[in-house]
């Protein structure tokens, strides 16, 4: 148990964060709070995947200037010396995707607010129902 917690502290952290985000996303009625929850949720997953790249005793994946290869392209490096660059690349993309989704969601929130004057989900549904729109989203 203790070994699991020590070895997987990153995973425990991300699961706690993810649960906070997931609860905010599904349980909160304010749309901005849902959006905040969505961001926490995405970022927790990004934390998880980035932490998969870690290697004990390794440095950042940029070639050291003072390494003995002297920048000779023929020398094969030791893979244990640098951390895994792949999760960093993947999560850079995921971060961009998260930012882009947030931008689009904010634009939608602006439109919703200018149209209905509220961002509370129950009030919104009430307004849409009372407007007699047959295609109001159901709960």
């Amino acid at each position: 148990m203790t070994e699991f917690v020590i070895g997987h502290f990153n995973i425990i952290t991300y699961i706690v964060l993810m649960m906070i985000g997931f609860y905010a996303m599904t349980g909160k009625t304010n749309l901005v709070k849902k959006l905040v929850g969505m961001n926490i949720f995405q970022w927790s997953i990004i934390l998880f995947v980035v932490s998969l790249g870690a290697k004990r005793g390794a440095t950042i994946p940029i070639l050291l200037d003072d390494a003995n290869h002297d920048r000779n392209p023929e020398v094969v490096l030791d893979a244990m010396q640098y951390v895994n660059p792949l999760p960093h690349v993947l999560m850079l993309t995921a971060i961009v995707v998260g930012v882009a989704t947030t931008g689009v969601a904010l634009a939608l929130l602006l439109r919703i607010y200018s149209q209905y004057g509220t961002l509370e989900e129950d009030e919104l549904l009430e307004t849409i129902r009372s407007a007699g729109n047959p295609s109001a989203p159901s709960r």
Binding site: G7, R56, T93
Partner: protein, 92 residues
């Protein structure tokens, strides 16, 4: 309603903890991600791409199509926001 969300959240968290039992320890140099695909990026990255920053080498060369997708997402977001907002009422 609130309790349902709490239950769903807890079940998700429990499932994830369960799944994490088999995930290798943080920083374990013998974990599959450290041994399978990534060593080539580190060992041969500079020889193959001439770029000392391996993250850049993977980002812009080995997996550059992902990066094209990433920039496309940014472009899509800009166009989407333009589509959503700019047709409406606008100040000056």
């Amino acid at each position: 309603m609130k309790s349902l969300h709490l239950v769903v959240t807890s079940v998700t968290g429990f499932l994830l903890i369960l799944g994490s039992l088999d995930v290798p320890d943080t920083g374990d140099p013998s974990s599959p991600p450290s041994l399978h695909v990534s060593p080539r990026y580190i060992e041969r990255g500079f020889a193959e791409t001439d770029v000392p920053n391996m993250v850049t080498a993977v980002l812009a060369d080995y997996r550059s199509f992902d990066t094209l997708g990433e920039v496309t997402v940014v472009f899509a977001a800009a166009m989407s926001v333009l589509l959503i907002l700019r047709g409406g009422r606008r100040r000056a």
